[in-house]
């Protein structure tokens, strides 16, 4: 069976930074795959290329057997995307935010009227559906965003740092919802994170990225074997593969500013 996501030798350069360098990986249908790495490792750039927001300098990728080069429109029909920054409209209610995105995904009439309450129910947002999103908590906003991304029952959902800025309780709740999503719809998930625990809890396989490259890839146990650290936690493995000094260096002012801004908006 053809993989749901197929990435071959993807490269992307921004001026003097090689953001993504010869990245290749496959994700099977129904699998949850994590791209893990410090800030600036190239995770978000890789995702942006796969969801057709950025074009690659070279290399090829296929989502649901459609090429990012020749069939970006087809890819957009097959995917849902939850961006790193909070992307719901605060002035609109939860329901309105869902309705608008349902329509953008081409849903209408009875189908849309049926899906929106379903999603609200599934994401535990029914009671607050008619409140402006500006009054939602951070965890509720993230749940709404995930709800928006699955309205059209996409084959693949991309989650870019889904729990950044959330407190541990909200994070755990969200993990529960993501797991339900897989159980209920069998969707393929690709998520980026720099929380080791998140990758460990949610994902079948993990790729650790650093400076635009994939350093290592496999299940948690495979990574342990490769590091020859049979009892290592994900944290220890991360430090082993990336090196202790790297993560601090690559944060950069822009990244720090961005994550603080998100944290601030999440309250």
């Amino acid at each position: 069976m053809e993989p749901m996501i197929e990435v071959r030798d993807l490269c992307k350069r921004f001026k003097d930074v090689q953001a993504v360098q010869n990245v290749s990986f496959d994700v099977k249908a129904g699998e949850c795959f994590a791209l893990l790495g410090p800030n600036g490792a190239g995770k978000s750039t890789t995702i942006k290329i796969l969801i057709t927001l950025l074009s690659a300098d070279s290399g090829e990728a296929k989502i649901n057997s459609f090429s990012i080069k020749t069939a970006p429109y087809r890819i957009r029909e097959s995917i849902g995307y939850v961006p790193q920054s909070l992307s719901v409209d605060g002035a609109l209610t939860g329901r309105e935010n869902l309705m608008i995105f349902g329509k953008l995904y081409g849903l209408s009439g009875a189908e849309l009227k049926e899906r929106v309450p379903q999603i609200l129910e599934m994401m535990d947002l029914t009671d607050s559906a008619n409140r402006p999103v500006a009054h939602y908590s951070g965890g509720m906003i993230r749940r709404l965003e995930i709800g928006q991304s699955i309205l059209h029952h996409p084959a693949v959902v991309f989650l870019d740092e889904p729990t950044v800025g959330l407190d541990p309780i909200a994070r755990n709740t969200l993990w529960g919802h993501i797991r339900d999503l897989r159980k209920q719809y069998g969707m393929t998930l690709l998520l980026t994170t720099h929380y080791m625990e998140e990758a460990e809890v949610l994902c079948d396989r993990i790729a650790i990225m650093n400076r635009g490259r994939i350093e290592v890839m496999g299940t948690l146990n495979e990574l342990r074997k490769k590091a020859k650290m049979p009892k290592a936690s994900m944290d220890q493995l991360f430090v082993h593969f990336v090196g202790p000094s790297e993560s601090g260096e690559q944060g950069g002012l822009a990244n720090v500013k961005k994550s603080r801004r998100i944290a601030q908006r999440l309250g």
């Binding site: 129904g30 029909e77 939850v82 961006p83 790193q84 609109l92 329509k103 084959a155």
Partner: protein
């Protein structure tokens, strides 16, 4: 496998006629913008004060100077279409700000990963700003009625007015999106927006006829789309003396189509 996502990739595309889907998407964008506008009418209300100030303060005082004989003794009537055009331009030219804000939030990125054609998104945004401009039209016309300014009325003229308002606001909000895609930050957009609106306004026939301008300025005024908007509105609201309505509409339509194409091309650059 029974619970697998029920999307085979072509489900959406086959569900609808692509032309219908295109317009459906465009209307969704207009709907989104209109809902937002209605939730917080402060912006529209405060912006509608601007033409009121121009007509009440500037218009009333300046008309006493009899400085524009071409206005035929009724400067307020001459000024009204100019102020209408100005307020349409001003509400539309800052459209780019909201687009940069949406980009900063991540909303734009998310919309661009849905199956909406770029040109439908841009056209939706351009037409959504028409809703704001229609509020300005209502304010200016109501005020001119209260002030007893003598304007021409007929059903045909009203439809003509609506046409010009749509074209004018679509053009200037398209222009604003092109600028936003080039300057990329809100601060710069504020600065450039201010910088663009003043010359557009003063190098047009909004406050005085083009014929009293020096030669070089007349040339600028002729290349200025706002002149055609003012001229078209003036032709409809005042005597037929000013009427080159068909040419005005044609120039504005052409300019709008060009800016639509440009904005569609430039818009995704906001992401990089």
């Amino acid at each position: 496998m029974s619970k697998k996502a029920d999307v085979s990739p072509s489900v959406l595309a086959n569900r609808r006629n692509p032309v219908l889907l295109y317009f459906y998407h465009m209307i969704v964008i207009i709907e989104l913008e209109t809902i937002k506008m209605m939730k917080d009418p402060t912006e529209i209300l405060s912006r509608s004060l601007q033409p009121v100030i121009w007509l009440l303060l500037f218009g009333e005082a300046f008309s006493r100077m009899k400085a524009v004989p071409e206005a035929g003794g009724d400067y307020l009537a001459f000024l009204t279409p100019g102020i209408l055009a100005q307020s349409i331009t001003f509400v539309s030219i800052f459209n780019g700000l909201s687009i940069i804000w949406e980009r900063d939030m991540g909303l734009l990125q998310k919309i661009l990963t849905t199956p909406i054609e770029r040109s439908a998104l841009v056209l939706g945004k351009m037409l959504a700003s028409t809703v704001r401009s229609l509020c300005q039209l209502t304010v200016v016309l109501s005020l001119s009625f209260c002030l007893g300014i003598h304007l021409q009325w007929s059903i045909g003229r009203v439809f003509g007015l609506l046409g010009f308002v749509v074209l004018g606001s679509a053009f200037f909000s398209g222009l604003s999106m092109v600028i936003a895609a080039i300057v990329k930050t809100r601060d710069r957009m504020m600065g450039i927006g201010q910088l663009v609106t003043m010359p557009l306004f003063f190098a047009s026939s909004a406050l005085y006829p083009v014929s009293i301008m020096p030669g070089w300025l007349q040339f600028v005024a002729k290349a200025n789309p706002m002149s055609y908007l003012v001229d078209g509105l003036r032709g409809l609201l005042l005597d037929p003396v000013y009427a080159h309505g068909f040419l005005d509409a044609l120039v504005l339509l052409a300019a709008t189509l060009v800016i639509w194409a440009l904005a569609t091309r430039q818009y995704p650059r906001l992401l990089t």
